[in-house]
């Protein structure tokens, strides 16, 4: 089995290596991931905020008055890993080439125990700015089809080295969303019909159209930076108490108002002398109307407060990372070679 896995990995990396040779690039891998080097552009600027509630509800969601009908039994995690592996020289400029692995998994929780729902989806790509790649069309044709690693365009309009690296990270995010989308489409068909089975997705739903989502899908975001229009209308969510949820608001895409989502902040945990974003998450859902959204915001806040245990300490951002999503991350990490392995491969070739 290991041999088979090793052969597969070698074969995949060999494809990447063949590509580098084909475009006369030099191998120059770095061990760090581009996601850690560059901040992804959120792409949230075009969204606008519309308040559903004027104030943050003044109640704690630790004690539940009633059991919500829904149960959080599915958890979706996705991963992207973008690694710089080589460069080509073009008109005196360095053009970066990347190796990208994206993957998604849904874990099913039954009686507190997890199993993978179906299997994870994993895709691998070579990212190159086709605009600046000699014989781009020909090369693209050669590195597509049945190959385990296919060529994809990094994007990027100008021959700016740093911008091209940022573009690679953003492109990888799009590819990750595509992978997640494929997996969620399957889940929606098979499991999503049961409205009481919630799927907590470890990412934003804003970039997915509502007709591709279901009301039992919940977006779970650890990043609470909100660069939306009208964001000044939100009360200060950084002041939320422990187990308190923030005011409910709608996030509207002016170009596609039918894709409106409801959202709110929730303080999962609080400790003395913590920084303002400690334990603070943002949730996104779909709802038919404001009343329904308000009810579900209450229910889901209760559910999420429960999910603060077991804690994921000492994982990064453990104050916001719920255990099932940590398992998703571990599952996906186990599917891919380490960045050191990839670096070693290209250094040795």
């Amino acid at each position: 089995m290991k041999q088979a896995t090793t052969v597969e990995r070698r074969r995949n990396l060999q494809v990447v290596y063949d590509f580098l040779k084909r475009v006369k690039a030099r191998t120059s891998p770095i061990p760090s991931l581009e996601e850690g080097n560059y901040r992804m552009r959120e792409g949230f600027q075009r969204f606008a905020v519309e308040l559903v509630e004027e104030q943050n509800p003044d109640k704690s969601f630790l004690e539940v008055a009633r059991e919500p009908p829904e149960s959080a039994s599915f958890f979706t995690g996705s991963m992207q890993r973008t690694q710089l592996i080589g460069h080509i020289e073009l008109e005196g400029h360095e053009v970066p080439l990347h190796y990208v692995i994206v993957s998604s998994i849904i874990l099913h929780r039954e009686k507190r125990v997890f199993h993978a729902w179906k299997s994870a989806i994993k895709n691998e790509y070579i990212l190159a700015p086709l605009k600046f790649l000699p014989e781009a069309e020909k090369v693209k044709a050669e590195f597509s089809g049945d190959l385990p690693v296919t060529l994809n365009d990094t994007g990027g309009e100008e021959l700016n080295y740093t911008q091209l690296r940022i573009a690679a990270v953003n492109r990888a995010r799009d590819l990750k969303w595509e992978t997640r989308h494929d997996l969620l489409a399957m889940w929606r068909e098979e499991e999503g019909v049961d409205a009481n089975k919630l799927n907590i997705i470890n990412d934003s739903l804003l970039h997915t159209d509502n007709n591709e989502l279901k009301e039992n899908m919940v977006g779970f975001l650890r990043m609470v930076y909100v660069p939306f229009e009208n964001r000044d209308r939100l009360s200060n969510h950084l002041m939320l108490d422990e187990f308190q949820r923030g005011q409910l608001f709608k996030i509207i895409d002016p170009e596609k108002p039918e894709n409106t989502k409801y959202s709110w902040f929730l303080r999962m945990r609080q400790i003395a002398k913590s920084e303002p974003e400690y334990g603070l998450i943002r949730l996104e859902i779909l709802a038919q109307n404001d009343d329904e959204a308000r009810r579900r915001a209450d229910d889901f806040s209760c559910l999420m407060v429960r999910e603060r245990f077991p804690v994921t300490f000492p994982a990064p951002e453990w104050d916001k990372l719920i255990f099932p999503h940590k398992l998703c991350d571990q599952y996906l990490s186990s599917l891919v070679p380490s960045s050191e392995t990839i670096q070693s491969y290209f250094l040795s070739e």
Binding site: K2, V113, F309, P310, P314, P324
Partner: protein
């Protein structure tokens, strides 16, 4: 995997995979060991099981599970404490922390000749054939040299017969067996009884060897009822039935021993004339005359009593014994009395150049000896009766009951019998109907102690037997509570080592350093009827189980009413010892 495997008979594919081999930065697999995680729902695997790791190239690597660890997805205790709402055990978090069990195995053998660590491999229980091949039993058992000793119960419930190679059990390639373990669990004696039954059954049946056994009963009634059936087998409980199954699996007959003769020192007070707890007339007595014990007399006294002056006098007394000659102990006592009478003349200050007082001391010692070793030395007109070692024959067992003697007396009898049988085997001119003799002695640490400051008159004899006996057909089965207290040469020369339940302090000695920590820990708690076996032909030790012996354990046998009182009286002259 079954389709890929080149040796499907070696693997229990029917049970299904029990895990998958894996390695990490901190726990890499090596050519000597590998790790595998245990599949969800497999709750039968335990320490000592033998597993088969099947690699994609079709080869199978066998390993013994020597360590089991559970791992939870928790980095530290604090995080779990917090997860229970800061220390509330009643809190049930919505997610169960992922938990897994990892097994560490030491490699026994691999079907590939290349010595290298295994990588990813599906892990199964080894089949009976696989275990036999992995431990190398197929070779010698196939050649008719296998002596069944016990069964190994693998995690899949299979009872796998474990054989010893007779060429390494009783020679000539290797020999001797050493067994240690705390007393009171009926493991050591019972196992020896079972093993002896197995040896005799196997070898007498195969006619490859002619084996006899000499057992020394050094305490209680341990070995006195080998010829009596074990009443345990009248029961119909689950464990007894399992024992029957073991007999069947191992091909050993569930009947008590035949051809057993028991000998004990002479007792002038009891009508049966034997100093033995067995009083049904089965025991024969023995008692030796001066000529038989004259060489051993100095060893029957401690250093303070038998000092250099006494030794010098003894040289002259021995000279007189040979010159006159003095043939019996009674004659010796008369001679000493006459010499003392002469010395009573105040004008005489020396005897044969020795100080008179030293002579007196020597004579007093020799006069006291029959009392000290009552029943061993002929006095008062009792005729000598020797143990008829020439009657030893193929399949026969002599039990020498020396529990009534003190340590020095026991040592003398043991050494004497051992040397005589040794000489019989050495002398090709002596007619005998056996070519292999097995000696069993409990509390071996008394006869061959590791501590060099302890007086051990026969230690060198025992070491010599252990070093050279295998080529002659003399095999020593020694038992003790603490292996660390037995001379290293005795242990190292034993091709078969058996460990019963052992105390933690003993396990900290270097004798056990080669065992994995978990295996050592398990030795502190293994139940009755279980032991750890290390045999010269096995790469790794094996945890085994053996059935109740076919004969009644001595300490469980009650003779008919009325004899209990006599037995109680007999304890009056029995030396106190740890039983």
């Amino acid at each position: 995997m079954k389709d890929v495997c080149k040796y499907p008979d070696y693997v229990n594919f029917e049970y299904g995979p029990i895990g998958k081999a894996t390695s990490t930065k901190d726990n890499p697999n090596t050519s000597a060991e590998f790790h595998f995680w245990i599949a969800d729902g497999v709750d039968t695997l335990e320490l000592g099981n033998i597993v088969a790791a099947c690699t994609a190239d079709g080869h199978v690597t066998f390993g013994t599970v020597v360590e089991l660890r559970t791992v939870m997805d928790i980095d530290n205790f604090l995080s779990d404490y917090i997860s229970h709402d800061f220390g509330n055990p009643d809190v049930v978090p919505p997610s169960d922390i992922a938990e897994m069990m990892v097994a560490k195995c030491v490699v026994i053998k691999s079907t590939t000749e290349r010595v290298r660590p295994i990588g990813r491999a599906e892990t199964y229980y080894a089949s009976e054939t696989g275990v036999a091949w992995g431990l190398g039993m197929l070779d010698f058992a196939g050649a008719g040299r296998g002596v069944p000793i016990a069964v190994m119960e693998n995690g899949d419930g299979t009872l796998i017969p474990i054989f010893l190679d007779d060429e390494f059990l009783v020679g000539p390639e290797g020999s001797h067996l050493n067994m240690s373990g705390i007393s009171g669990l009926a493991t050591k004696t019972s196992l020896v009884e079972f093993l002896l039954k197995s040896i005799l059954d196997t070898m007498v049946r195969s006619e490859r060897r002619r084996v006899c056994a000499v057992f020394f009963n050094v305490k209680g009634k341990d070995m006195l009822y080998l010829d009596k059936p074990n009443p345990q087998y009248e029961e119909d409980d689950a464990y007894t039935n399992k024992c029957r199954q073991m007999y069947s699996k191992l091909g050993v007959e569930l009947v008590p021993f035949e051809n057993v003769r028991i000998f004990a020192p002479y007792d002038r007070r009891y009508e049966g004339h034997t100093k033995s707890f067995r009083r049904d007339g089965k025991v024969e007595h023995f008692i030796w005359e001066l000529t038989e014990i004259v060489e051993d007399i100095p060893e029957l006294f401690d250093k303070d009593t038998w000092d250099e002056g006494v030794e010098a006098v003894w040289v002259d007394i021995r000279d007189q014994i040979e010159r006159q000659p003095i043939r019996s102990y009674d004659e010796l006592l008369n001679y000493l009395a006459e010499e003392r009478r002469v010395l009573s003349n105040a004008a005489i200050s020396h005897w044969h150049g020795h100080d008179k007082q030293v002579y007196y001391k020597s004579a007093k010692n020799l006069e006291a000896l029959p009392g000290l070793y009552d029943g061993l030395v002929c006095t008062g007109g009792v005729d000598e009766v020797d143990i008829p070692l020439h009657d030893l024959h193929n399949g026969s067992i002599f039990v020498i009951d020396i529990q009534s003697l003190n340590d020095r007396g026991q040592a003398m009898v043991f050494n004497k019998i051992l040397k005589r049988v040794y000489r019989m085997l050495l002398d090709k001119n002596v007619k005998k109907d056996f070519d292999t003799a097995i000696f069993f002695i409990d509390e071996l640490n008394k006869f061959a102690p590791r501590d060099t400051t302890v007086h051990a008159p026969i230690k060198q004899s025992v070491i010599e037997i252990c070093a050279r006996g295998r080529s002659l057909g003399v095999s020593l089965f020694g038992v003790e509570q603490f292996m660390s207290q037995v001379d290293r040469q005795v242990v190292d020369n034993s091709s078969t080592l058996i460990y019963g339940r052992t105390g933690p302090a003993e396990l900290m000695t270097d004798q056990y350093a080669w065992l994995d920590a978990d295996v050592r820990n398990r030795l502190t708690t293994i139940p009755r009827g279980t032991f750890l076996l290390k045999h010269a032909k096995f790469v790794q030790p094996v945890f085994c189980k053996f059935p109740f012996p076919s004969c009644v354990p001595g300490d469980q046998y009650e003779e008919e009413e009325g004899l209990a009182a006599k037995r109680e009286a007999a304890t009056a002259f029995t030396f106190k010892r740890d039983i």
